[in-house]
Subunit: 434 residues, 2 copies
């Protein structure tokens, strides 16, 4: 087999065989194909496309570039969730303990935030002592003992994805649905889960701004899961406004604790319940998603979900006194209220800008090596359709670096459009694909 | 300006600006853009295309990556020819002295053979003592004194092309008409010529196998020449059978000497006369191409063209006794006659295989660093439409390495298809574009 011939075949729109795809992925990962050839291949794949079978084969080659965790000796079904990323999306922190409390195992390997979206790992690490850099051996032990584990990518998991993603990032080949699918699925399939819930975001704060692109990605994820004989459900959910009101790492942990302790938070509670209910159903602990949702609500009401969160946090090294008593957590040096000086109804929110404002305050990173400030972020008080007056505090900004406030404020100000006419609330769940 | 944004714009089918194109070419050539980004850009350009303006801008950026020779102080018009390469194509050796003898200046910078096609430089260097690695200063002096120079690419000429071609060669981005155009024209425009004749080959022994592709390339070459205010004529000519009968470096010099001394060789004489006549006309020494052809024939008949060849060969260091008395040249150790054991009419020739047979015998190179054997090659005795019998010697094979004979023989045997029915001769000149 010959690299150049394979590049040319994809360039000419031919379908590749499984062995050709394996040859490319394996040899690139082992540095036997130079990056300049692989990037030409990626661009050809980007522009010519990859069909369902090719996507599954790329996923497979990337998956088996590393360790594939086998959790079959641990009793019970294992279910995980994947979100394509959004602003204020802290559902993982809520659903993981809820679903585990329902008796389903949750093997969860998460990523960090990049750009305008947050990452579960950064949120967890804002809890003093919480360790996410954990070996796969310890990961397995945590699931066995506690029913769940909330860890970060290890170098054994799909190393090909890491190499390929780094190259895609600098060669204009990120926004390819087959390549995105392979990247997500190669990591998810390595975790040891049997079923998945995919939360594919759409809207101004999502990577897939258009509903149709989100649907295509959701269909692609479900299709690859099926090829690996994994059951899955994908929801297309709204990202035109933040989930909940808190954006920033510790701020999001704080809001998750509120939900886990029974507080109702608009759109965040609803989505967390739906995802939890679906996972409980996939995990065999409910006869329907609706029954799963009812179970999830009960587990929150009874305090069992909150207890499970304390349990896993403690097992992963956290000082749980901060979770029991969040007021103990240090405060940002600067807190600034934002008033729009407009009255009317919130017509639209450029949610990307809200995420970027939080990032600017210190909550996120533009480059992988940037440091984040766990306390920093935004409390964003309004949703589309809300009525505001000239004095409404639409947001509160938190940071340790005063120079960052102005830029963040401007982003939020220009992101919110207000109308004199009444505006309908957005629909949270746009579609379901399975 | 940002590399990634430019890659994405081309990926998405956008037209690039001149400054974007210059940014890419300049920074890649100065190693400020890594090859993995440039190869993704090349693949995007390959698949999305480049329009006439983009092609001219790429040509311009590549041209001015190096030295652009100015011959304006040398009196008389300067005309050069470029061929896209073929099997047995030794027209440069014939037309250069003919056209110079007519009073036109011929500044000719040629390349080496690669793959199944020969290169003018390798042919010239088969003449003992003939030097082609000559400085641009000496090049200018040769044209001033002798009216022509037959030299090789220097490192000052379009260095960007060398870098880019090396990357295209290993990333499946060679066969792009705009990129081929820019590669050819950036080198040709650096030579100092004012007009060009393009000989674009089509058929089994050409790079452009299909007539339409050859026409597109010819149109693209003429169009870029026009953008640089250079007059040009392109011919689409047949490459379904070798030009003349001799294939291999010294063998082709030998056949050129025969033509320069007045011998008529089927298809080679006709093409050499047409190209010479067109150059003489472009050079202002004839009122029409036909008049140019008549002048060319006269210059051969009178011996002036042959004398000019001896003159430039001597000026470039050759031992001209080999040209005056070719029988002095060493012979290959092995010479093998090929009989097909078939009778009928030659229906088709896979001319690529004839070129590859000569290469296998030692006349060419697969990789740039391969050494060639100047004596090696094939005398190929038949043309399409020729009648052959069971005993016809269709070819003679020459090599110093006996082990190479069998493979070359098989290539030639399988390349020739014979028919019981009469077969028409091929048309040499397929089209003219100007």
């Amino acid at each position: 087999m010959n690299v150049l011939e394979i590049i040319k075949r994809k360039r000419d729109g031919k379908k590749l065989s499984q062995s050709e795809i394996e040859f490319m992925i394996d040899n690139f990962t082992h540095k036997k194909i130079p990056s300049y050839q692989f990037s030409a291949f990626l661009m050809a794949a980007f522009l010519r496309g990859l069909d369902k079978r090719e996507t599954a084969w790329i996923t497979n080659a990337m998956l088996y570039s590393g360790e594939v965790v086998d959790l079959s000796e641990i009793p019970g079904r294992k279910v995980d969730k994947h979100s394509t990323g959004g602003v204020g999306d802290k559902t993982s922190l809520i659903l993981a303990p809820v679903v585990t409390a329902a008796g389903v195992k949750v093997p969860m390997i998460s990523g960090r935030g990049l750009g305008h979206t947050g990452g579960t790992l950064d949120k967890l690490e804002s809890i003093p002592g919480f360790r996410t850099q954990i070996s796969l051996k310890k990961y397995r032990a945590l699931i066995k003992k506690h029913g769940l584990a909330l860890i970060g990518q290890t170098k054994e998991i799909a190393p090909a994805d890491k190499e390929i993603y780094a190259l895609r990032d600098v060669t204009g080949t990120v926004e390819s649905i087959p390549l995105i699918t392979a990247s997500i699925m190669s990591k998810k399939l390595a975790e040891g889960a049997e079923s998945f819930v995919f939360d594919v975001k759409t809207g101004s704060g999502a990577f897939m701004k258009k509903l149709n692109d989100a649907k295509t990605l959701a269909t692609s994820l479900v299709s690859v899961a099926k090829k690996f004989k994994k059951k899955s459900v994908a929801y297309i959910t709204d990202m035109n406004e933040p989930l909940g009101n808190y954006i920033g790492n510790w701020l999001e942990v704080y809001e998750s604790l509120k939900v886990l302790q029974g507080e109702y938070v608009y759109n965040l509670s609803e989505l967390s319940e739906l995802l939890s209910g679906t996972m409980i159903w996939l995990g065999g602990k409910a006869k329907s998603v609706d029954e799963g949702i009812a179970i999830a609500k009960d587990l929150i009401k009874s305090g069992k979900a909150f207890d499970k969160f304390l349990e896993i946090a403690e097992a992963q090294g956290a000082d749980v006194s901060y979770l029991k008593n969040p007021s103990k957590y240090p405060k940002s040096k600067f807190g600034e209220k934002l008033v729009l000086n407009k009255s009317g109804y919130v017509k639209s929110i450029d949610n990307y800008e809200i995420g970027m404002a939080a990032l600017e305050l210190g909550a996120g990173r533009m480059k992988a090596e940037d440091k984040i400030e766990p306390k920093a972020g935004v409390i964003f008080n309004v949703k589309i359709g809300d009525k505001i007056t000239k004095n409404s505090v639409v947001a509160e900004l938190f940071t340790d670096d005063k120079t960052r406030i102005d830029g963040a404020k401007k982003r939020i100000e220009s992101a919110i459009k207000v109308s004199k006419d009444k505006v309908k609330k957005v629909k949270l769940i746009k579609a379901q694909i399975s």
